[in-house]
């Protein structure tokens, strides 16, 4: 991998952020709105004493910030690929010496930048609007967040591979996949609430262990190493499968000539 090629592709997207209001809104406005909404809901539940002894503000705001981190990880990877399709630039990119690994690395790093910015925005808004300090959960939040970014990349990689294979008709997945994941990964409620057969799906998702782990920290003050390790293990397995799937789809679209038709 060559850093100059990774940097060039990242720069391409960073240039866009300088002047694109919708892209800036993705980082600054929409996460703020989401946080405000969930903050008000949390305060209402807390004041109505629906939550008993549970600190609902910490649970819900912690969960929504981590959820945004996961979503951003997926979104940034899939949308970075779609940008080149929308701008009919894909062929220009793929006739340069750029390797697939460099293409993926650039979008993954771009995702880290976006997640970092979204995390800061949400952390600051939560602190000032609801006196909620994200780091009151301890520095466990950092390995949690990395696990979620990692899983977000995996989902983004799978969606990108599907778009490669089926074309832009599948692009809706880039924006909708997270709504499919959300109910199963137990963001706002414990897995035990879910029907037994759904719990199997839930425990197959690395993100579930992060959200369960977050609730364990809030409730007991203890970081569950086993949850963290299972999440890392699942992420590694899924990343290997997602990379295999992506490379296979890429080879397939080159074979059937679809790569050249994606942006036409």
């Amino acid at each position: 991998m060559k850093w100059h090629r990774i940097k060039a592709l990242m720069t391409r997207h960073l240039y866009l952020y300088q002047r694109s209001i919708p892209r800036l809104m993705d980082i600054f406005f929409w996460p703020t709105m989401t946080l405000l909404l969930w903050g008000f809901v949390s305060e209402y539940l807390q004041q109505s004493n629906f939550s008993g002894s549970v600190n609902i503000v910490t649970v819900l705001l912690g969960a929504i910030i981590l959820w945004e981190i996961l979503s951003e990880g997926q979104h940034s990877l899939s949308v970075a690929f779609l940008e080149d399709i929308w701008e009919r630039n894909l062929l220009n990119i793929f006739v340069t010496p750029l390797k697939i690994s460099e293409f993926l690395a650039s979008t993954a790093l771009l995702g880290v930048i976006r997640v970092f910015l979204v995390g800061i925005v949400m952390g600051v808004v939560a602190l000032f609007a609801y006196s909620f300090n994200l780091f009151s959960l301890g520095f466990y939040i950092i390995p949690f967040a990395f696990n979620l970014i990692f899983f977000g990349w995996i989902l983004g990689l799978i969606i990108t591979a599907v778009i490669l294979r089926f074309g832009t008709s599948a692009q809706v997945l880039a924006f909708g996949i997270m709504f499919l994941v959300q109910p199963f990964t137990a963001v706002f409620y414990p897995v035990s609430i879910l029907p037994k057969y759904i719990q199997y799906i839930s425990y197959a998702l690395p993100s579930t262990y992060v959200f369960e782990g977050l609730r364990a920290v809030v409730n007991t003050g203890h970081f569950l190493n086993s949850y963290f390790l299972i999440s890392v293990g699942l992420n590694i397995i899924y990343l290997a499968l997602a990379l295999w799937f992506f490379y296979r789809m890429f080879a397939r679209v080159k074979k059937n000539g679809m790569l050249t038709k994606l942006d036409s």
Binding site: L16, S20, L91, F94, K99
Partner: protein, 240 residues
């Protein structure tokens, strides 16, 4: 010295044979025209050369190396331009050029961009948004992008197809000048036979995925007893 060596290239899409046992070479410094009616297999051949489609069988060597095994190394020394492939309109011209300079690993990209902008007369366009360029300006930008890495081989797919005759003429003159100065090897496709006569040292006719004839424009005009390459094109396309 052969820069490109294609041997028995076949590309099938299910039952449709887009390229059928095509073999040819392009020598260093040569401008080769790849001609044929729509669906003849020209674009598929170019795409195979750029490793954008995987051949069903056959071999493609560029600079003596198989493209499929040395993709990154080879693509660093060649470039491609087509009016059907856009540069992102939501970026400024200099931003687009600096990104591609980065992708090709150009040392001192600012100097290179300024140098090429002078040659292709796009200096005043550098701060503009790419989406605001006219078709003629866009073609010059595409050619500037294609020269960023000082390619040894340039693949041009119908580069003047959307240009008016005046701009197209200027484009050809510029291209010929650069080709001569740099001893560039060029693979050129076009439906404009006058242009092909002016630009190409040699042409290959493709029809239904097969090479039907090849030679210099003058040889083919003489062989078919026609007044120009346009008539030769019609004769070849209609007899097969």
């Amino acid at each position: 010295m052969a820069i490109v060596e294609i041997k028995n290239l076949v590309k099938r899409f299910d039952k449709f044979v887009a390229v059928n046992d095509v073999s040819f070479e392009i020598q260093e410094g040569e401008t080769l025209g790849l001609l044929g009616p729509n669906g003849a297999g020209k674009t598929t051949t170019i795409q195979a050369l750029l490793d954008l489609v995987t051949p069903t069988s056959g071999s493609i060597k560029i600079f003596g190396k198989e493209i499929s095994e040395n993709r990154s190394e080879i693509l660093g020394q060649i470039n491609f331009s087509s009016p059907y492939v856009a540069l992102p309109g939501n970026l400024k011209v200099w931003e687009n050029l600096s990104i591609f300079a980065g992708l090709y690993g150009i040392k001192n990209p600012k100097q290179k961009i300024e140098e090429l902008a002078e040659i292709f007369k796009i200096k005043d366009l550098l701060p503009k948004m790419t989406s605001n360029l006219s078709t003629g300006q866009m073609t010059r930008l595409n050619l500037t992008k294609a020269m960023l890495n000082d390619p040894k081989l340039l693949l041009l797919d119908e580069p003047t197809s959307s240009l008016d005759p005046d701009i197209a003429d200027k484009y050809r003159k510029l291209l010929k000048k650069i080709q001569k100065e740099r001893n560039l090897t060029i693979l050129y496709t076009s439906h404009n036979m006058l242009e092909i006569e002016e630009i190409c040292d040699r042409v290959i006719f493709l029809n239904k995925g097969k090479i039907t004839d090849n030679g210099t424009p003058q040889q083919l005009i003489k062989k078919y007893g026609r007044k120009d390459l346009n008539d030769v094109f019609l004769a070849i396309a209609r007899e097969t």
